[in-house]
């Protein structure tokens, strides 16, 4: 700071006032220009992610130039400022390791682009739309309209699932049918459901996978595809259609059954049938 104090000491009072005022005006203009540029840059054709990066970069660049110019007006050599900034960065780096780690992770995220602004991602327990990728954190808007801020370092270390990266998505519906049912008939009914739903893609073809013999039902996986924007509608409409169609075709979706077995050597359990008790309303 001595160089700044020395250069100020060498000025007369009037000069000092004039230069400080001029530097302040430059910084103010820089702030205004930075904000105007960030808002007015004609980037509508670009992806929101790229818009965000270019707007931020332009804003910081304009502010940096204004600040450097203001310092120059105060008679400060830019070389000295840059040298001091380098030293300051190292000092801050040691003091704020977490922030620096987040910062570097943020740069990696911007370069790697596993997701962009507007994508829907799932990180640990949070699922939501990416509303910004900042230098220190990623902000998500969850579907119940909450803001989740995830530090960039956590994003780099965790498994991130991008739900909207590819244009089409598969919905896997687990369905159980009674052991007495004819599986070829069940398959035909399920395929009809997929065929009659216009948002269900004909290709890739719907799949029926035999999952196994369950405790109470034969478990099947019915997998259908839709455009990512129709996924929720497909999920609801398919499950409704399966229930409705199974009822129409007399296909049973069984609830868990329990068979009470007392062992082969024991006597059968005695069952006694008694008259129904009178309910209080009847009496």
């Amino acid at each position: 700071m001595e160089w700044l104090i020395d250069s100020i000491r060498n000025m007369t009072w009037n000069e000092q006032v004039q230069k400080f005022a001029f530097a302040a005006v430059i910084i103010l203009l820089g702030i205004v220009a930075s904000r105007v540029l960030r808002r007015r840059l004609p980037l509508e054709r670009l992806h929101p992610q790229h818009q965000l990066i270019i707007r931020r970069f332009t804003g910081y660049l304009v502010l940096g130039i204004a600040f450097a110019w203001a310092l120059q007006q105060l008679g400060v050599s830019l070389g000295v400022v840059l040298g001091a900034a380098g030293l300051l960065t190292v000092a801050i780096g040691f003091a704020a390791q977490t922030s620096v780690s987040n910062l570097i992770s943020g740069l990696f995220l911007m370069v790697e682009q596993p997701f962009v602004v507007g994508d829907v991602i799932k990180v640990a327990d949070a699922t939501g739309e990416v509303i910004s990728i900042d230098l220190l954190s990623v902000r998500l808007r969850t579907f119940d309209n909450l803001l989740v801020r995830i530090p960039n370092e956590s994003m780099i270390k965790s498994n991130v699932t991008n739900l909207t990266y590819f244009p089409i998505r598969r919905f896997d519906m687990q369905v159980g049918v009674a052991y007495k049912e004819d599986l070829s008939k069940v398959g035909k009914v399920l395929m009809e459901i997929a065929d009659n739903n216009p948002i269900c893609l004909q290709e890739p073809k719907p799949l029926i996978i035999f999952s196994g013999f369950g405790d109470s039902a034969i478990n099947l996986q019915f997998s259908v595809w839709a455009m990512k924007e129709n996924f929720l509608e497909l999920r609801n409409s398919t499950q409704n259609a399966v229930k409705r169609s199974f009822e129409q075709h007399g296909i049973e979706i069984p609830f868990p059954h329990r068979t009470l077995y007392a062992g082969s050597v024991t006597e059968p359990l005695p069952v006694r049938i008694t008259a129904a008790e009178r309910s209080p309303i009847q009496s």
Binding site: F166, P167, I168, D195, N196, N197, P198, I199, C200, L201, Q202, E203, P204, K205, W225, A226, M227, N230
Partner: protein, 271 residues
């Protein structure tokens, strides 16, 4: 439905301009689509619904109905309009994205051969109002299923899906007012048999024609298989279809034809 108005203009022409008296309801049945329009002060109310049968061949027009017919529709939309015109206009349109046709039975084009076949596709109904027509909405006469056309699930194109019998004789193609026929020529100059498992046609690039017998046609499509690839040279015919040379031009394509180009059109994908 009141059949007092019966089929408009006779034959299978359901498009054109119609006058709708204020507060009364006019209703059209175009194949599986039922469309109702009501003119109220400062607004149009349009109701529509489709039946489950995509091949339904009903064609009816009725005017001066009560508003009950409109209220029972599955979908009703309102459009504010300041013009005092009672004129509503219907226009046929081709699908708004490509259609992938799957032959009902495996269809092959032998080496050095060419096949001329006919496929049918559902039409969209564009509704507009006023002397300088303002678009109100577009409705498919039957909404085909979505399908994905592309080798991996990461890349490709969203299309509509349709089944086709790949009719080779025009006489076998049933004429339906809500569907247009497309004549497709597939050339296979290569030394290998071309199995046509799927056929993607750019319906949004095809215009519409009407032949003398009232059948709706699109531009012809000529596809020539590229050597050793699934890509084909796509050519969209100029002028009336060859099978109906006297057909009258009706509607421009939604988008420019884009000239001849190599496209992925025969798929042996996902199989």
């Amino acid at each position: 439905m009141n059949d007092a108005g019966t089929t408009h203009k006779g034959g299978s022409e359901w498009w054109g301009s119609f006058s709708v008296a204020e507060r009364s309801v006019t209703q059209w049945q175009i194949g599986p689509l039922t469309l109702s329009a009501q003119r109220l002060a400062g607004e149009w109310r349009i109701g529509y619904q489709s039946s489950d049968n995509p091949l339904a061949d009903t064609l009816k027009y009725a005017s001066a109905l009560s508003s009950e017919g409109l209220e029972q529709m599955a979908n009703i939309e309102r459009f504010a309009i300041s013009e005092e015109s009672d004129e509503i206009r219907l226009e046929p349109r081709t699908a708004d994205r490509p259609i992938v046709f799957r032959p009902d039975l495996p269809f092959h084009v032998l080496p050095g051969e060419q096949a001329s076949l006919y496929v049918g596709s559902p039409l969209w109904v564009a509704v507009s109002s006023g002397p300088s027509p303002k678009a109100l909405l577009e409705i498919p006469s039957h909404r085909p299923s979505d399908t994905w056309f592309g080798p991996p699930t990461a890349e490709g194109e969203l299309c509509y899906a349709s089944r086709t019998f790949c009719r080779l004789a025009l006489g076998e193609v049933t004429r339906r007012a809500h569907r247009a026929a497309t004549a497709v020529v597939i050339r296979n100059p290569s030394n290998e048999t071309l199995p046509v498992l799927r056929l993607k046609l750019p319906m949004e690039r095809l215009g519409l024609f009407m032949s003398r017998d009232g059948r709706l046609w699109t531009h012809d499509v000529i596809l020539e298989r590229g050597e050793g690839t699934e890509f084909a040279q796509l050519e969209i015919g100029e002028g009336a279809p060859r099978s109906a040379p006297d057909a009258k031009f009706l509607v421009h394509p939604r988008v420019g034809s884009g000239g001849n180009r190599m496209v992925r059109t025969f798929g042996s994908l996902f199989s």
